[in-house]
């Protein structure tokens, strides 16, 4: 982990959905170093997904600023295009992400949207397919895949855009333990290659043992951002991670 260059800096970010009475994000201030493995935890409705949707400009904050690789996000078409290349977002349910009828075509969707040639897009498709172990699936229809295969294809589709930051919104939740481990191994490999990984999860075992940093969210606020050892040493903070009875297991 490179602790000097921040990959992502959020300053005073606030957001309220149209028609909502309360803000979903309140004055978020956060700085994450490049190459870090970060787990975002918090109860349902704590604002994790809203936070993630801000990171590649799907949502625009009502107040505050987000900077990716030192550059504040510009919300005009070139700026949005740039940030969506820099920050890749993988959703919880791959069914919500797979758009094309065939695996190869789906993975090529992002690179071709970046304006790459067919040849370069094909090269990237083959490269990420090998990384995500879906090379043998490239000619298959997306609807014929298992959920684990769909998740790897969804991840490949995002990695084909070569983002510096990978954001996974509870992307392990639907997978069996073996497939979860394969995804974690892949995230480790990507982090070693310099990518910053943000993963939202309710898996406290994973949160305790895998990341470099944990971000704790509740009520649209960031309660803490620290190492797992520090977070899990704070009993008050741990109450926000889950019922204390779970720790007696």
């Amino acid at each position: 982990m490179n602790t000097f260059a921040p990959a992502l800096v959020l300053t005073g970010v606030t957001y309220q959905y149209p028609g909502s009475q309360t803000p979903s994000l309140r004055n978020i201030n956060l700085s994450l170093p490049a190459g870090a493995r970060v787990v975002v935890v918090g109860p349902n409705g704590s604002g994790k997904s809203t936070f993630f949707l801000h990171l590649n400009a799907i949502l625009k904050p009502r107040a505050g600023q987000i900077a990716v690789a030192g550059q504040p996000i510009r919300y005009n078409p070139p700026g949005v295009r740039q940030v969506r290349q820099q920050v890749g977002l993988v959703f919880q349910n791959p069914e919500d992400q797979l758009l094309s009828a065939s695996v190869a075509q789906d993975i090529s969707f992002g690179p071709l949207n970046l304006g790459l040639s067919q040849a370069e897009a094909r090269r990237r498709v083959n490269e990420v397919a090998e990384l995500c172990q879906v090379s043998d699936l490239l000619d298959r229809p997306t609807h014929a895949l298992s959920i684990g295969q769909k998740m790897r294809v969804a991840l490949a589709g995002v990695l084909a855009m070569q983002p510096a930051i990978l954001v996974a919104d509870e992307s392990l939740a639907m997978l069996d333990p073996w497939m979860q481990q394969r995804m974690i191994d892949l995230f480790d490999q990507l982090a070693r290659g310099g990518k910053t990984i943000l993963l939202a999860t309710h898996d406290l075992f994973l949160a305790r043992h895998w990341p470099d940093l944990i971000v704790v969210m509740n009520g649209g606020q960031i309660l803490a951002c620290d190492t797992p050892a520090s977070i899990f040493a704070d009993r008050d903070l741990m109450r926000h991670l889950g019922p204390m009875e779970r720790w007696k297991w």
């Binding site: 919500d96 758009l99 609807h143």
Partner: protein
């Protein structure tokens, strides 16, 4: 639909350029329509069936089942053309049978017309089935791109094709969930559950479309749905086979 989709990916002609398959399909369909003769149409049906079963490796029962399902509709139409319903007292000289106060009649001309329509339509179905069972929809979509059809139309086809299977999965899950709680235990419950399922499926489709749109945006979508072009085998054997079938159909049409 899932059966057709499965074989479209699993057959031995999968890698052949869809242009070649479309040529065989379109040319036999056109020949059957223009020649309008029973022998040539039947030769077309046999030839297309052989290509599908022997060459592409689609099981007899699959190709036959699809063709049988279509021909059941055609048989009804053919009966409608061949037979006339008369009062029992009218046209006593016409060939037919009396059933109570009615008389069902037919003539050589009407039977021949029905046979022509039936065989022609059957050949058309076989031609389209060959394309459908050997060519995945993604290849058909790629073909339509190559044929320069309007891009939004082809993009819409692609997304709709993907959405069909996503919604079918949702439909299956919802139906099992309803069945699990005795939603289809009786006639009335069945109707009520089916209505609820239709409503819920509509909402599900809407919510899913919102999520898909978010995913599209996050992957740099900018109002153009562009994907990789597919590479195909350019082996022209199928073209020659299709041409031979056309000649056989012409010869059969000339035979009295």
């Amino acid at each position: 639909m899932r059966l057709i989709d499965h074989w479209a990916y699993a057959n031995r002609l999968r890698r052949v350029d869809p242009v070649f398959k479309a040529f065989v399909s379109a040319s036999t369909l056109t020949a059957a329509l223009l020649l309008n003769r029973v022998p040539s149409s039947l030769v077309g049906v046999v030839g297309l069936t052989l290509i599908a079963v022997v060459w592409a490796g689609i099981p007899w029962r699959v190709f036959g089942a699809v063709l049988l399902a279509e021909s059941s509709f055609l048989v009804l139409s053919a009966f409608g053309i061949a037979l006339s319903l008369q009062p029992a007292t009218g046209w006593p000289d016409a060939t037919g049978v009396s059933i109570g106060i009615a008389r069902v009649t037919w003539s050589d001309t009407s039977v021949e017309a029905a046979a022509r329509v039936f065989s022609r339509a059957l050949a058309g179905c076989a031609a389209v089935n060959l394309l459908a069972l050997t060519t995945p929809v993604i290849d058909v979509i790629a073909l339509l791109y190559r044929l320069r059809l309007p891009t939004p139309l082809v993009e819409l086809m692609s997304v709709v094709y993907r959405a069909i299977f996503v919604l079918l999965d949702s439909l299956d899950r919802m139906r099992v969930a309803q069945d699990n709680r005795l939603g289809y235990a009786g006639f009335r419950q069945g109707f009520r559950s089916a209505a609820m399922l239709a409503t819920r499926l509509f909402l599900d489709a809407y919510q899913r479309s919102q999520r898909l749109h978010t995913a599209q945006l996050s992957r740099g979508y900018a109002n153009q749905f562009t994907v990789l072009e597919t590479a195909y085998s350019r082996d022209r054997a199928l073209i020659w086979a299709g041409s031979a079938l056309l000649i056989l159909m012409l010869a059969a049409g000339a035979w009295q």
